[in-house]
Symmetry: D2
Subunit: 385 residues, 4 copies
């Protein structure tokens, strides 16, 4: 057994943090050795203690942590950034500067220039910068990507993706942990809902279709009275090659949970996948019987098998997807020592595309609902070299 | 038993026509006595013969039929108009002029002014002008409307409706009956797909929500190479009271059939209904268990019961919905003799709204994807008096 | 158009009767010309009047009707028998004796000997004797039969069939129409629940698998206090070739409606079909994606197409299945004149097998739950010649 | 943080073993410190090494392990027994004798007397003896138990449970890991299929209903040619209070995976739960809308909440259920130190009931399919004191 990677955590006293920790534990590939879990001194101390973090590695701020860990032989090798959106950039930068790989929550930053800056820094330091689009690590999402890439749908025609949630269906700003900053544009970015949920939907649509979104038109709205941020977004999209589409997301859909759902339509059929029933992938062609691909069925593709864990009919869920992300990053880091190519994971370029989506949605909406071009991240990076 | 209403038919040599005839037969409320089923003389004769229509009531054109029937004591009392969209206006007008009630396929006309004209004529003649939005006659659609009206969702927030079909997923223009005129803008109207399918989705959304659409923004596209009409439409909608929404429809979704699906979201929960599984209505509130309303369950509302026919668990389908429409019209006609208020059915005003939707979608798209106001039909009618 | 067949009806003032009438009307193949709908004189008169039956053909008992109709030139050609089980035999016999085809509700009789007697009489008179196992006329049931027959499951292993209903979940004996005689063994037969529901499940299992049941073991029980008949039955079954299986049925499953469900397992996969979602047929093989066959999909088999009516995605339900049965019988009758082979429909031999099932279940249970052989109907018929 | 419990493992080089290890890791409550993973010396060494087990704690047989660990201050506190059925008794006894808690795979033993012996030994030593019926740890299974206990179904009427699997649908005896001993009656017990799968179904039915099975009638069969053990079982069951039921299980259902499914019917409605879609619990009452309880919905019961881990709509699966079992056992052990009552988990008495089920099924079948009484475990234990 490899020695577990030394993991640090900034933020994460929330549910999301617990998801990260369970994912890190599941394969025994990480040990959580250092953290600043909360800006509240007492809460931080207690939480670190509960998690068995040594006293001298319970930090009160990220800068101190980055500096101190850099001076230890057993300093953290990877840091998970699980803080409000507007703090991702300085935190991620601090760790990249000191040679630590970064796994960053989405959206990566609250400005496109910051996003480009992080990508450039990671490249310069030869470090991994990974984004938490864990939904892409469901086996059947990889299967969907394979089916599209194999041309089984023929030329694509339209992509319909949506992510309605109900976590903000009432005015939870003060009552629900994490809601206050998510609903504060100063901390969450140009669009609360597009940043929080829309970036996941956008990433999934692009990952599965193999296409990039090139333009959008957005209608942002606030459906809960008294709310200071948008909570509903209707986007029209144009992907590579003239493929059209739409993206709808909201956190105010009472009764919805994490109903991320993707449908990709091509000239020969369509695919549908839902995050809440992730073990199945639905395919309907223009003729013949529908097909339902199940995880772990005999004859499963290598792409799905790579992230399939439990036996057929023993449901695998969200925790395993998150663990798959952590596993991919661990393999990338270990593989580097071995000279192996890293497995795919969402990276800083994906992160920058997500930030661009948020900003473009805001510009489109503020312009009255107009078509706005999305940026070419690689070209912009090249232009800044 | 009432004597069956004397029914005439213009057009209807197609599948759609057979749907009409089965609906008219199912309750024994109509007898099909006169028709011009096809412009092809031989086909018309044979089809009329097969249907047992007397030789002297097999007509070669609608004008002759309207005139001749008007001169018979046993002339038709109702006529079903099942022809290409651009012919609805003159045909419907001819029969209204001679005192015959009209059941007209959608979209009602290919111009908003023609639509207003038909409504005014029907009112002037004191005749019923009904539109074939048969999907509204599923019992669970009525149940959905009841639930919204009862305030169980609270204030509405967003309406998501879609109608993807695959009947035009390849270039069927010459191979499939009815496809040629549907894909010819001269016959189908300003938007083929919005007229053919979008009007159903729009009607359903308005009927269930109890709201009218007041503005739209449209992106129309042609996804099948070589096609001379649009076949995909993404609409953003604004309903009464600032409620937002979206409508997607296409006839080029390979593998889809008649996947009309409506979701209505309010502050306290949401409803979902799908035409392809019409016996169930899904309700999820902000807390507690989901509810699935089933047709014919004990405790069914009067609204759903009115159009429920078979026992619980013996599935009722599309044929019964169409028969429900015919039954509603028959009751309206009979009720008039009895002085009873007519039951609800989609009427000429609904028809005019559908035509307006088609024209507005075209204007929005041609303007580059801009918000366009929808008209106030009653105000426009009043203005023309 | 063929002249409609002259149809008579004995019994049928119930929901079931209305199902028959709508089925007879749907294709315009029958006219309901004579009836004794109820033993209550006034109810009978009113109901016949409502249905437009001429005064002189509203009969007060079946014997009078059989005699009188036999003396008319326009006498009925087919009679539907929709009465309590113990009256089927004399009624069916009376009409067969006078040359009238019979469509009989299930179970065909309340004694196996009576059942054999009807089959022999029908053969002697060269008349059709059809049984109302209408569930077999769903297109996807025919598709299931085709798939099994084509060997796609390989050798069969086990058949699981069930039909839980909740119509008798409380003591409805006096409150619900038709419940009193169904719960009276003197009228319903040796097992109320096996006769009422189990015969449908048995027929479906045999029809789809192409196998006959050869032995059974039964546990009958009464789950509703105060009830004088069984209302729950667990049967173990042995089919041809050593294939095993089980059949569960009850009318006391609170909340169930008509949840007839069949699963057939073979060495290479299994099939599942549910009457309450009849448009789909599920197939899962040992490897690869599941398949969901939909009615009216492109590439539908001829077997399914034969009874498919509406377009893809426009749900077809129970009413059409019943109409398919009426259509099959009409085609058989018309085909005879034309010298054509009759289409398949459940016949007297199927009926006798159902009656045998009921009696065997009773014998097995009363013997303490022992294996009991089922009879060979054709051999028994031959033995009586 | 508590120091992790020191865990030992006997057997577990299989998929099942990996499930155990992931479950033990997920909450950080255990450290795997000693093991004999395989009887193959080399495989054992390599596997122990991969798992980071110290060299001196990689044992070649369980007796040596029990003895050596008993002599260490840091010896294991809990041992997981993941070996062929016929070895459970001696292994579990060896560790109980030396003061180690036991978590044992099902069926607990291959003889009822051995089962009683283990229970007595555990009680004598004041140690926990837990059984791996992990399916009971799905949150919605606890919810189902709560609903039944609260009387929402009224008096129960019938219980239908099934567990078809396809892992042995072909002659996998030599090709699939773990299949050889499972299909060898000398190692698996009196019924391979009832022991392997039927005990899970039986446990689930009893746990949710709150009833014990008191008698059964069984038909065992072998559906795969060349197989030396049964692979299909149909059981009729009688529970406390005259409640009837049926249990079907097989490992030869081609295409099935782990399709454990329970339905409980009462006078006021019924519940249905499926292991392959474990996040939902279906309730249908005699009237009104169906209810679908979802894990983590607002208003979730305390019973379901106790084992709910991820947020609403982020699917939780089998791995978490297994981890819940490990967590319950850890809490029981820790709670003892604190004087707290242990949480519920399946224990030795449950294990003995499962073994009795297996033996009774064999006796019933061999007697020609006769009703056989199930034993009263507590009475039998008392009788042996």
């Amino acid at each position: 057994m490899r020695k577990p990677l030394r993991l640090g955590m900034v933020g994460g006293l929330s549910n999301v943090g617990e998801t990260h920790r369970a994912a890190a534990r599941m394969d025994g590939l990480y040990s959580l050795d250092a953290a600043v879990l909360s800006r509240d001194r007492d809460k931080n101390r207690r939480a670190c203690e509960d998690l068995g973090i040594a006293e001298d590695r319970r930090y009160s701020d990220f800068a101190a942590m980055a500096a101190a860990e850099a001076n230890r032989e057993d300093g953290v090798e990877v840091v998970a950034v699980i803080t409000p959106n507007n703090t991702h950039a300085p935190i991620a930068a601090a760790f990249l500067e000191t040679g630590v790989h970064v796994l960053c929550e989405k959206p990566m930053t609250t400005s496109y220039e910051d996003a480009l800056g992080l990508v450039r820094l990671a490249r310069e330091k030869n470090l991994f910068l990974a984004l938490c689009h864990a939904y892409a690590f469901y086996p059947m999402v990889h299967e969907a990507r394979r089916i599209v890439a194999a041309g089984e749908l023929g030329a694509l025609r339209t992509i319909q993706v949506e992510y309605p949630s109900g976590w903000g269906a009432s005015l939870v700003e003060t009552s629900k942990s994490g809601a206050a900053w998510r609903m504060d544009p100063a901390q969450s970015g140009a669009s609360s809902v597009v940043g929080d949920l829309g970036t996941h939907a956008h990433h999934l649509a692009c990952f599965v279709s193999g296409l990039q979104a090139r333009a959008l038109l957005a209608e942002l709205s606030t459906t809960v009275k008294g709310r200071g941020a948008d909570d509903n977004a209707q986007l029209l999209l144009r992907f590579d090659g003239g493929v059209g589409g739409a993206l709808w997301t909201t956190m105010a859909a009472a009764g919805c949970a994490n109903a991320l759902r993707l449908r990709v339509f091509g000239e020969r059929g369509h695919l549908a996948w839902s995050q809440e029933t992730p073990e199945e992938l639905f395919f309907r062609g223009g003729s013949g019987a529908d097909r339902v691909y199940r995880r772990a069925m005999e004859g499963m593709s290598a792409e799905a098998a790579a992230y399939s864990r439990s036996r057929p009919g023993q449901p695998q869920g969200f925790a395993e997807s998150f663990a798959n992300l952590y596993r991919a990053l661990a393999r990338a880091i270990h593989g580097r020592a071995d000279g192996a190519a890293p497995p795919w994971f969402p990276d800083g370029v994906d992160g920058a595309r997500g930030v661009d989506l948020v900003e473009a949605a805001r510009r489109s909406h503020d312009g009255g609902g107009v078509w706005v071009a999305l940026r070419d991240v690689e070209a912009d990076l090249a232009a800044r070299d």
